[in-house]
């Protein structure tokens, strides 16, 4: 894919900010709330400058109470506003699970479609910044489990720019996961809009399919390059949407390659990778030429020391090793 002439290089962080800004300009019901989002500009500086531009009514700092301010956001959405709620990390979102799972996800269903909750809840996920176990986990699967929620994970600058806009346009709750390792990544912003439901083939290949999302996409692309040196042509699929899963795109790819490696920064047990692997097996069983391989995080709370943190989460060489296992049936020397 080549960038159109007018595509400007920008960062993932700036692309998110531009999306929020545009939404706030276009519709005055839009406001953003969260811890330190105002003057400070947000823990990851996504809202930097918005306070100055839109003022304290639309860029609101909240107390350190996820249950409280997420609940307030849901209430505001019920009341006709279009709130964007920022949660510092997915770890802290657990305090708001009751609001999200018991309220946001259920009201449309329980009201027979009378009430929509057009809230967008953004949160950071993932490890790699030495923030230790309480700030580094990948709990996307907790939300992807719940009917009534839409869960997305933009992995590219373009998706950061346009998926947030699409999330704002969705009448129901959308959880947006932003991987902390992506904020500084940069690239061209291709023209939107984009959808919130399909997976995207980031690199075509014929020998095996690597399925990844968020922070694992770039690692998978790098692994695919290395696999190319071993004469293995790997197709890399960026899930983009974690709920619903785009099983059709996965199935189409695996029908073609007959082999799949699922990369997940979450833990392996009872996780997203299990769901994807099961889906592939259900959809493509008679085309599989090897068991579906999962490359996931070690079953430990993410450690603080750099070397242990690196060892705990999937790295490029782990993905290559998984791929070679699927290709050759034995663990290759990688």
């Amino acid at each position: 894919m080549t960038a159109p002439e007018l595509a400007a290089e920008t960062t993932y962080r700036d692309a998110l900010r531009e999306a929020i800004r545009e939404a706030m300009i276009e519709d005055e019901r839009v406001f953003i709330m969260g811890e330190d989002v105002a003057e400070y500009g947000g823990t990851y500086a996504v809202t930097k400058g918005l306070y100055k531009e839109f003022g304290r009514d639309r860029v609101r700092n909240t107390p350190l109470s996820e249950a409280g301010f997420v609940g307030a956001g849901i209430g505001a959405a019920l009341g006709g506003m279009l709130p964007i709620v920022e949660i510092m990390t997915v770890n802290f979102s657990l305090l708001a699970l009751d609001q999200i799972v018991n309220t946001a996800a259920t009201l449309r269903h329980m009201s027979g479609g009378q009430f929509h909750i057009p809230v967008v809840i953004r949160m950071t996920t993932g490890a790699g910044r030495q923030l230790a176990a309480q700030h580094s986990h990948s709990l996307e699967c907790w939300f992807a489990h719940v009917p009534g929620l839409r869960v997305v994970a933009p992995a590219t600058v373009t998706d950061a720019r346009w998926m947030l806009k699409a999330a704002m346009a969705d009448p129901d709750p959308v959880i947006v996961f932003e991987h902390n390792g992506l904020y500084n990544s940069s690239g061209p912003v291709l023209p939107g809009p984009v959808d919130l439901t399909t997976a995207e083939i980031r690199r075509p290949g014929t020998d095996l399919t690597i399925v990844a999302s968020a922070g694992m996409v770039s690692k998978s692309l790098e692994a695919a390059e290395q696999l190319g040196d071993r004469n293995v042509s790997a197709e890399v699929i960026d899930l983009r949407s974690l709920r619903p899963l785009d099983r059709a795109t996965l199935a189409k790819s695996v029908e073609h390659t007959s082999r799949a490696v699922v990369v997940d920064e979450g833990w392996r047990s009872v996780g997203l990778s299990a769901e994807i692997a099961a889906g592939i097996t259900e959809d493509c069983f008679y085309r599989l030429d090897a068991p579906v391989c999962r490359v996931a995080s070690r079953e430990v709370p993410i450690p603080y020391p750099r070397h242990l943190e690196d060892a705990a989460i999937p790295q490029v060489h782990d993905i290559v090793a998984g791929a070679m296992t699927v290709m050759t049936g034995s663990l290759a020397d990688v």
Partner: protein, 417 residues
């Protein structure tokens, strides 16, 4: 009735359908050559069975008294299925234990003996058979490891997976092991109604050889050897013995190959899971062509430890057996190297295709009188061209070259063999 209770269960044994080749999955008994009540000795042929490839005489490797046939004639059963119940040791003098097959059920009369009809009756063996010895009730394909893709391709292409050697984990058959494999992932299956013209042996050869050419980076080396000394030596020794003990050059070739392989173990074995696995002995497979087309490769186990006349008699039996359709199960051992000998009427040299997962194949062309330079003179000598096809993943040309040198030296000094 306690007085007719069976002998201790420890003496009951089961003989299972043996594996008569790496890719054999099942076989059917065509004919029983032993009957209940017969004593069998080690080496006895107990049955003739039909496998995918050929009919084979199955030998038994223990002695005992046959109690019962456990499978019906013509019933295709998986390898490992108990086929014969062997009774107590033959030394036993206990009349009951010696003839348990005709022990009548407990309702039998206590008169002068069981009625003839009851004698003829096949009584199910009363000894409890260990759980794992019970015949599997599943269909044969259940034990066969194959990927779902391989299974669906095989089904679409009407290929019997039992004829395919797997290269996947733990020998699983995966898509690339199948002939007609398309890496594009779109296999155009021929219409099922289309008759499959090739016979099973052709199919098996096609599969193996396609896999060999697809997977194995072959390298080929040749060496001409002056067989003058060897031919003289054979002629002299054959003069003194009756026809049945005469030795042909082929036996010399096999023996020389076996000895040379023992000295060059890197060429004797298998390429499995991306690494070389040395053979547990030198087992020479001998390619024997059939006049009806196709070939079989019976194996001479531990050929390096056999004398030339032992090798010769094995070869004679193998050739006669293969061509008259009676292969013996002891020939079905997995070979560590294959020899192909084009014989007296054949071509001058052969550039062979390795039989996977082996890593070498040694070919002998016809022995022909050719001009040969020795001691600065050109003389007509009986010369053979020996060729080596070797797997470049396992060895390099230098190793192969050394093997051919050793082989040439052996054939030039037949007395050392």
């Amino acid at each position: 009735m306690s007085e007719t209770a069976p002998p201790p269960t420890a003496t009951a044994r089961i003989f299972k359908m043996p594996s008569l080749g790496a890719d054999m999955e099942s076989a059917a008994v065509l004919e029983w050559l032993v009957q209940p009540g017969d004593l069998v000795q080690r080496g006895d042929v107990i049955a003739r069975v039909e496998t995918e490839k050929s009919d084979i005489d199955v030998e038994i490797w223990e002695k005992g008294r046959v109690i019962a046939h456990l499978v019906e004639i013509g019933e295709d059963v998986p390898v490992g299925t108990p086929i014969l119940q062997l009774g107590t040791s033959v030394e036993s003098t206990d009349p009951i234990s010696a003839t348990p097959a005709v022990v009548a059920p407990s309702s039998s009369s206590t008169g002068t003996g069981p009625a003839p009809a009851q004698v003829r009756e096949r009584v199910f063996i009363p000894e409890p058979v260990a759980e794992h010895d019970l015949p599997p009730t599943s269909e044969p394909a259940r034990d066969l490891r194959a990927s779902p893709l391989a299974r669906s391709m095989a089904s679409a292409l009407d290929i019997d997976l039992a004829t395919i050697a797997g290269s996947g984990p733990e020998g699983a058959i995966i898509a690339r092991d199948l002939p007609f494999n398309s890496m594009e992932g779109t296999v155009e299956a021929p219409a099922k109604s289309q008759p499959v013209a090739i016979d099973r042996m052709r199919e098996a050869i096609a599969t193996r050889m396609a896999r060999a050419n697809h997977e194995i980076p072959h390298y080929h080396l040749e060496r001409d050897v002056d067989l003058g000394t060897a031919m003289d030596w054979l002629e002299r020794s054959n003069e003194c013995v009756p026809p049945g003990e005469r030795v042909l050059p082929a036996a010399l070739f096999v023996k020389a190959v076996a000895r040379s392989m023992a000295e060059h173990p890197n060429l004797n074995g298998f390429w499995v899971d991306d690494r070389f696995q040395a053979g547990d002995g030198v087992h020479v497979g001998m390619a024997i062509s059939l006049r009806t087309g196709g070939l079989v490769i019976p194996t001479i186990v531990n050929a390096d430890r056999r004398t030339i006349s032992e090798v010769m008699s094995s070869l004679r039996e193998m050739v006669a057996g293969s061509r008259s359709g009676s292969m013996r199960s002891s020939w079905m051992h997995e070979a560590t190297v294959t020899v192909t000998n084009l014989g007296t009427n054949g071509a001058d040299r052969v550039h062979g295709v390795i039989f996977p997962p082996q890593v070498a194949l040694i070919g002998f062309g016809r022995i022909a009188a050719r001009p040969w330079v020795a001691e600065e003179q050109v003389r007509p000598r009986p010369v053979v061209t020996i060729s080596l096809a070797a797997d470049h993943r396992a060895t390099d040309g230098a190793t192969g070259s050394r093997l051919l040198s050793t082989l040439a030296h052996s054939l030039e000094h037949p007395e050392e063999l």
